[in-house]
């Protein structure tokens, strides 16, 4: 769910108010958008993708996180590079290569391949039955 609108980073462009498919934000009186209806958030990360200032953070959980969670700690999220990480991954923003241009996933196997041997990093024909 959406947890953070950074007052420091926000450039008050209202883009998140416009693009959120669930109309979660309201325009704030001082220009910084307000999370007005968090319960309506569907954790789709789209607001983050569209935020040109990397001022938003969506925690990956479908329920709100506790107030003391690191997922609500802006300094921690900035330091670990998680703030703005979705926009970076999909290559949105000036000077970046669109992620779509390099999105070549693996050819999915028809049946699960053997388990990887952690020592070699390669798949081996050694099925573990328990661990």
């Amino acid at each position: 769910m959406i947890e953070i609108v950074s007052r420091e980073r926000c450039i008050t462009c209202d883009r998140c108010v416009e693009v959120c498919p669930r109309n979660v934000f309201d325009r704030g009186e001082d220009g910084v958008p307000v999370i007005a209806r968090q319960a309506d958030c569907q954790t789709c990360f789209m607001c983050e993708a569209y935020c040109p200032a990397d001022a938003l953070f969506v925690a990956p959980l479908a329920q709100p996180v506790p107030p003391d969670s690191p997922l609500r700690d802006e300094a921690h999220l900035a330091a670990t590079g998680l703030l703005g990480s979705y926009r970076r991954e999909i290559g949105w923003g000036r000077g970046r290569t669109p992620g779509a241009a390099v999105a070549v996933g693996p050819e999915l196997p028809h049946k699960p391949p053997p388990i990887v041997n952690p020592a070699t990093g390669r798949t081996e024909i050694l099925e573990r039955t328990s661990r």
Partner: protein, 551 residues
Amino acid sequence: MTDSLDLTTDVLVIGGGPAATWAALKAAQAGADVVLADKGYCGTSGAAASAGTGIWYVHPDPLEREKAMASREALGGYLADRRWMARVLDQTYDGVNELATAGRYPFPVVDGRPLRRGVQGPEYMRRMRIMVRRAGVRILDHSPVTELLTAADGSVAGAAGHRLQTDEPYRVRAGAVVLATGGCAFLSGTLGCHVNTGDGHLMAAELGAELSGMEFSNAYAIAPEFTSLTKTAYYSYATFYREDGSVLEGAGSQRGRSVIARTLLREKVYCVLDRADAATQAKMRLGQPNFFLTFDRLGIDPFTQRFPITLLLEGTVRGTGGIRVVSDDCATSVPGLYVAGDAATRELICGGFTGGGSHNAAWAISSGSWAGEGAARYAARLGPAAARRTVTGAGEAGLRPTGTARPAETHRDVVAAVQAEVLPYDKNYLRHADRLTPALATLHDIWREVRSGLHGAGADAVRTRQAAAMTAHARWMYTAALARPETRGMHKREDFPAQDPAWRHRLLVGGLDEIWIRPDEVAPVGPEEWASLGRPGFERVTERAYARAAS
């Protein structure tokens, strides 16, 4: 509240995902004036925008096309129609190429050749919005439709709804309407699907439209527990474990998903993607970056660390049931009403097995294009007289109660009560008459309460209508599920575990206060029928069958 918005147009498209944008684009290219009204923001709302998807994009080589058509036929219980598969493959090929050239979608290039078999949702829908705007379509964002408008002769004549950000009602009078409102995932929490509550199905049924394949409505997707990230493809690399660390035998992302469901009824299930080697892992990150958002943010390495998983209902988003299509241009049985994307049945190309991923994406492009063009032609035939018609709001449940109105807030209780019947694995996934019958009876009771008392106005009406739509959807689903005493496609009956050749036909369902069900007169066209009939002659055969069915 300000003066309400009142627009007149040739074609109104309801929805804002892939099918809606293709419909709007093609209607505008055909010369129609077009309004697109989306419940959220056209470009981010719906199942596709926040995900990434494969596309059923196959080169027009006869052998490749034959292989593509045969690929899901058996899984779908041979309920698909090869004539539709062939035309979807043609239309999708053209549409994706248009997205690449006119839309400038940056498809990857491998060995000097563009790879066009998949798209990333955010980029795809951003480009579609640009194309739609360039074509001159007027977009109304955050403008959920709450009811269709009808003319005196019963044909559709527009829609009314509420603009959420300005808190004002609005109305669009139109010559023709395309419903591209998506499937119904019952607010289960599956990725991007909170807007997919089956609103279009309810509105179509209020005008007498038929639905098809509603028994194929129990797709469940794997997600890490407590998250919305239902992206199942990469679980092909998973091993599933019990709480005690032992391997859950028979569990798998494809054929073994029911083992996971059965186990989740009793205990937690864990998973590690321990079958992806280093090279595969790197490719996975490039292919679906949002799959890893969850893990990165929770500090989990999914390739080495166990994490708990759950199954979330994707209903008719990934199931194949929906509003019945009665002609090549995706008309419904209601004059002037067209249907596209997940709101429509996808049995025509998938039968009873999931249309998820590539097939649904192809269907959205194709059915959207045909519905848009069909609606434009219909509106052109009506001409300026369309705007002079006297129109009436057709909305009933949740808008115009038959008894004493109760507070709109009761919509929450309705949703919770419906979810209690459709989300549990032992009712909807692992189906048995002993559990379906009482569930359906409960749903009928909920409907009676909804019909008599549920009432909302303004923005509240959006929520009461959603609750009504989900209730109706669940009743069609279980009526069809009980009417098919066999296992076929995704519809698995524990009390009838085998496929019965006598039931190789599609099932139509409809009605609101009284639900009816009957076999479809139009027979599926499998490989044998396709071979024996031959393409040119067969086209006429199906057209006659559709005409009979519509009369």
